[in-house]
Each structure stands twice: as C-alpha cells, then as structure tokens.
C-alpha cells in the first residue's frame, strides 16, 4: 500500500507488525553493538598486555591473532565461525527435544565481530602504550608496582588518553560492521529492513530509513566518546 499523495511507503508507521520488527531490529543492533564494543575493548586491553609479555610465545600468539583477524575479511570470519566452527561443535537438545547448535547465530556474530574489532583494538592500545614514557614506568617500578599494577593503574590510563581518537574510529567501524550479522540471519536492522522491503516492495524507503538510523546511532556513539574524552582529559597531557 502506497500513500497516494507522496508515493512514499513507510510501512512501520501504520503497520504494527512491521513496526515491531523495526523496533526489534533497532534494539538488536544496539545490543549486538554494545556486546561487541565491550568484548573488543577487553580483547584490546588484554592483547596489548600480552604483546608486552616477557615470554616470546605469548607475544607470538598475540601477534598471530592480530595478523589472522586483521588480514581477513570480517564476513569470511563470520562465516568461518558460524558455518565451520559451529558445525564442528556438538549439538545439544533444546526444550522440545530437538537437536540444536550449541551457540546461536547471535552469539557467533558477537564472537566474530568482537575478535575482528579486538585485533584492531590491540594495535590501537599498543600505540597508546608506546606513547607512555619508559621513565614513567620506571617511576612506578621504583615505587614497588609490579608489572600488572603498573599496567592497570598507570600505563593503561595514560595510553587510553592517547589512543581514544583512534579507538573512536574503530568502534564507529564496529557499529557499522554489525550489519554483517545479516548474513547469518541475526535479526538486526538491515535484516529486518530486508524482510520489510521484501513484503512491501519499498526498497528506497527502507534504505533511507537505514541510513538515517545509522547516522543517529553512530552520532550518538561519537558524541558519547567525545564527552568521555573531555571528562578524562588532564591538564598538560595527551590530546
């Protein structure tokens, strides 16, 4: 059904079924983004710590992880996790007695995207860590800090301030890359939009809707990150 006056058909304004799908997709995108933001940042912090390890094999494993996930397409990674790893894992009985994969498609999307963005985050944190002068670390050591304490209380907080702009960029990319979860049928924004335009043949309308929603979502993230950047800014240090 097309509105006769304008020819623009925004089904989610008058069709409660489409509206529910749209809202569901919107929150699915937000939820997937938040989960991946969280875990990719954790991976970045831990990975950067492992990169500075005294043990050569720890460093090599961290480096291998980065190479693997930075040098391969995220869609291929997601397919690998969902189709290859997912098939190798045992199946479990669900509440109706049917066999089901151990992890659902949302979990695999979250895992693969977290690892993908995490690989970049490791490098981003490393750049920040390298900007912390050796003498500052030495001062911490002289005060009795062990390596982990110095990393957590001194190096990391300083590194954060240096690498926030780069981290910003990567996290923005991550939010946009959540649309890849479409490919393994996670009902996020792009996926539900596709369902709607398949039903109502309103492709241009849904495309514009998508663009507007992503501008708003990423805008919100950037705004939040900038506020954070300002909040932790200290006189005479970093950006």
């Amino acid at each position: 059904m097309t509105t006769p006056e304008t020819g623009i058909n925004l089904t989610y304004f008058y069709d409660s079924f489409d509206r529910a799908r749209m809202i569901g997709g919107f929150f699915m995108t937000i939820w997937l983004s938040l989960v991946c933001l969280f875990f990719s940042t954790i991976i970045g912090v831990v990975g950067a710590w492992l990169q500075g390890s005294r043990f050569v094999w720890t460093r090599r494993i961290a480096q291998g992880y980065i190479q693997l996930f930075r040098n391969t397409p995220p869609l291929v990674q997601m397919y690998f996790f969902f189709f290859a790893l997912g098939n190798l894992l045992p199946r479990v009985k669900n509440e109706y007695g049917y066999l089901e994969p151990l992890f659902d498609n949302f979990t695999w999307a979250a895992v693969s995207l977290s690892f993908f963005a995490g690989a970049f985050n490791v490098e981003i944190f490393r750049s920040g860590i390298e900007a912390v002068p050796e003498s500052t670390r030495e001062a911490a050591e002289a005060l009795g800090y062990n390596r982990l304490q110095a990393y957590l209380y001194i190096v990391l907080p300083l590194a954060f301030r240096v690498c926030l702009p780069a981290l910003n960029n990567n996290l923005v990319n991550l939010v946009k890359t959540t649309t890849l979860a479409y490919a393994i049928a996670v009902p996020e924004l792009l996926y539900v939009s596709n369902q709607i335009w398949s039903d109502s043949v309103n492709v241009p309308e849904m495309m514009v809707t998508l663009l507007v929603l992503y501008v708003a979502l990423v805008g919100l993230l950037v705004w939040g990150m900038h506020r954070w950047e300002r909040a932790i800014r200290v006189p005479g240090y970093g950006t």
Partner: protein, 252 residues
C-alpha cells in the same frame, strides 16, 4: 651472588661491593664499592657517562648488575629470589624528570603507591599525604595536576611521593638538573630538611655548593670507577687525583 643476611644498624645500610655492569659492549661500572651508614648523606659527582646514575639504579634493582653485590639493610638486591617489593619499600627514588603520573593530582600521586601497592587504608594514607604536602611546602596544591605545577613543585611532589612509602634510604638522581635556577633552591631546601631529619640520602648531583654543605662523604666517579672519595672539606680543598682536580676546576 650472596644471599640476604640479617642487618643491624651498626652495619652499613647500603653496602656496594665490587659491582660490574655493562650495557652491551660498554662497561659502565667496573668494580665499584662503597658503603653508606644509616643517616649518612653521600654525594656522587663525576662527568656524564661515568656511571653515577646507573649505580643509583642498581641500588633499587631497576637495573640488574652483572657481578658483585649490593645490599640494602642486608637484603641482597640482585638475588633472583628477592621480593622486589621488600626492597622498594626500603628505598625511595627521585628522578631528574620528576616522572609524576600526569593523570593524577599531586595528592593522588602521593597516595597511589601506598594504597595500590601496600594496600594501606585510603583515609589514613590521605592524612599522611597531606602532612607530606605540607612538609614539601606545597599546601594548597593538593588538587593540581602535574601539568599545572612548575618543575620545582613537581619535583617536590615526587619527593613526597617517595616518602609516602616510608623508605629508609632515598636516592636522588640529578633531581635539580632539569630545573630553572630559581626553583633549584626550593628542591634543595626540601632535601636538606630530609637529611637533617636523619634520612639516609644518596645524591648524584652537579650542585657543588649544596654537596659541600650537606654531604658527609663525597665520591668522584669517572669511567665506571670511583676515582676518589672523602669528606667534603678535604675533597674540595685538597683533591689528590688529577682527574678529580680537572673535573673540579672545570665545574667550580
């Protein structure tokens, strides 16, 4: 390397015996020995590259030594089994570039190590930190960030930060070398106060007037060895070794 031994105050608090240290092919310390008694102030002078700063860094094990022995209160500082924290609780260090933690206020800089490393009660540490701020004459600057303080003020915060760990020995590594001439004095006054309270101090310095006034014992190092040492009066008025004579004539 010898193991740690029990220590009594009549023995040297810092005992350095025949220490060798190389960085790659460069031999920085070639058999350095010196003893410091509790409450003594010793000043180490010498041309740059003579190994003075490395020697200080070896004392609190920031730099490992190749051979010899360094004991602080009987703790063998380069024993691989040594709990480094035990050593660092005894030895405080102040650096040329202050090395304050720029993301923390002056007060927080002082409080951080006792709270995170020694797990001391935050409220108690804060009381002590405020006393220390007063002691280094920086009342009112508690909530300033290092970036808002002058070099001399930052250096005094750094001294207070070390003192918060209640060390028995303080190492000062050219602590006034990066300062403007007018702020040098305020830092030296702080160190003098400390020395007069009986703190054991090892200073690497270029402040000859200060050394002459404050030191109990002077050491002159050149190319990794102690060339000459003695009480400041004798050391400055009557240097015996030609290398000491040349250095002093250049600097005084």
């Amino acid at each position: 390397m010898t193991a740690s031994q029990p220590w009594t105050p009549d023995q040297p608090i810092v005992r350095i015996a025949d220490v060798y240290k190389s960085f790659g092919a460069v031999e920085v310390l070639k058999g350095v020995s010196l003893n410091v008694m509790k409450g003594e102030v010793i000043c180490i002078i010498g041309p740059s590259g003579s190994g003075k700063s490395t020697l200080l860094r070896c004392i609190n094990a920031l730099v490992p030594i190749d051979r010899g022995s360094i004991q602080v209160e009987g703790l063998e500082t380069h024993d691989p089994k040594l709990n480094k924290l035990e050593l660092r609780k005894k030895v405080g260090m102040v650096f040329q570039q202050y090395n304050l933690f720029p993301h923390k206020t002056a007060l927080q800089n002082i409080m951080m190590a006792p709270v995170t490393v020694l797990k001391q009660d935050k409220a108690e540490v804060e009381v002590r930190a405020r006393v220390l701020m007063k002691k280094v004459r920086l009342e009112g600057k508690e909530h300033s960030y290092p970036g808002e303080l002058s070099g001399g003020q930052q250096q005094r915060v750094a001294i207070a930060r070390s003192l918060a760990m209640n060390p028995d020995v303080m190492l000062f590594d050219e602590v006034t070398a990066a300062l403007d001439p007018e702020t040098v004095k305020e830092v030296l006054v702080t160190i003098r106060d400390l020395a007069e309270e009986g703190m054991t101090c090892l200073l690497v310095t270029h402040e000859m007037g200060f050394a002459r006034e404050l030191a109990d014992h002077m050491y002159f190092t050149d190319r990794g060895v102690i060339v000459e040492h003695g009480p400041p009066k004798e050391f400055f008025s009557n240097p015996r070794d030609p290398r000491t004579q040349e250095f002093l004539s250049q600097i005084l």
